[in-house]
């Protein structure tokens, strides 16, 4: 079974803090994704990566950055957390060949609920 894990289930940070959200997958998947999920807005893609050290902006990348130094790990970074970044953050991964297949199911982690005070 595919397993995607996230470093924290719940996180509380203060405005201006630098926040790291970690995601690890154990299925040697090439593609990894970070989403945020908010009531009424559904899942919105922040960033994704289709290879080590490769990253591409999603729909809402502002205020975020990512790092993919190893294939199994994809980190989301909030350089200076703000209250409007309070949300549920979901990591996902999928297999594929250099990110050019449209038919790969994404497998999600349990989510990190981040609260920024």
């Amino acid at each position: 079974d595919v397993k995607v894990t996230q470093s924290s289930r719940y996180l509380v940070k203060r405005t201006g803090e630098k926040v790291f959200l970690e995601c690890v997958q154990d299925m040697d998947h090439e593609n990894m994704f970070w989403y945020r999920q908010d009531p009424g807005l559904g899942l919105r893609l922040i960033y994704f990566s289709y290879d080590v050290k490769m990253k591409e902006k999603g729909d809402i990348p502002e205020g975020y950055s990512v790092s993919r130094e190893k294939k199994e790990r994809f980190s989301l970074i909030l350089e200076s957390a703000s209250t409007n970044q309070t949300s549920m953050y979901l990591c996902a991964s999928s297999s594929g060949t250099s990110g050019r297949s449209f038919t790969d199911t994404q497998y999600f982690g349990p989510g990190t609920r981040l609260t920024v005070l």
Binding site: L43, G99, Q106
Partner: protein, 114 residues
């Protein structure tokens, strides 16, 4: 723009009855559709998928129907159980021409009454 949507935001069914969750899509070029289930406080979980060259696909207690003529997708759950209570999303390949992107619907909440 391209979108994936749902007809009903909330569906309430009696335990043991069958459930039908609907999804409308607008991208006629989509070749793949996925249904996810998300329980409270958890990440979305893959349920079943269907390719555009199929009209129907069955899993364990679930059936997905695809009607390309009217761009409609449905998820049928047989003998609904309390454990089926969750939010269900449909998803399709994203409109953006970058591999492995998915566009998600807003979700339908299924509530199962004992």
């Amino acid at each position: 723009g391209e979108s994936v949507g749902l007809h009903l935001p909330t569906l309430s069914v009696q335990e043991g009855d069958n459930s039908i969750i609907n999804c409308a899509y607008s991208n006629s070029a989509s070749d793949y559709f996925i249904w996810y289930k998300q329980e409270s406080g958890k990440g979305p979980q893959f349920i079943i998928d269907i390719r555009s060259n199929m009209d129907k696909r069955q899993g364990q207690r679930v059936t997905v129907l695809l009607n390309k003529t009217v761009k409609h997708l449905s998820l049928q759950i047989a003998a609904t159980q309390p454990g089926d209570s969750a939010v269900y999303f449909c998803a399709e390949p994203g409109a953006r021409n970058a591999g492995n992107m998915l566009t998600f619907g807003g979700g339908t909440r299924l509530m199962v009454k004992p």
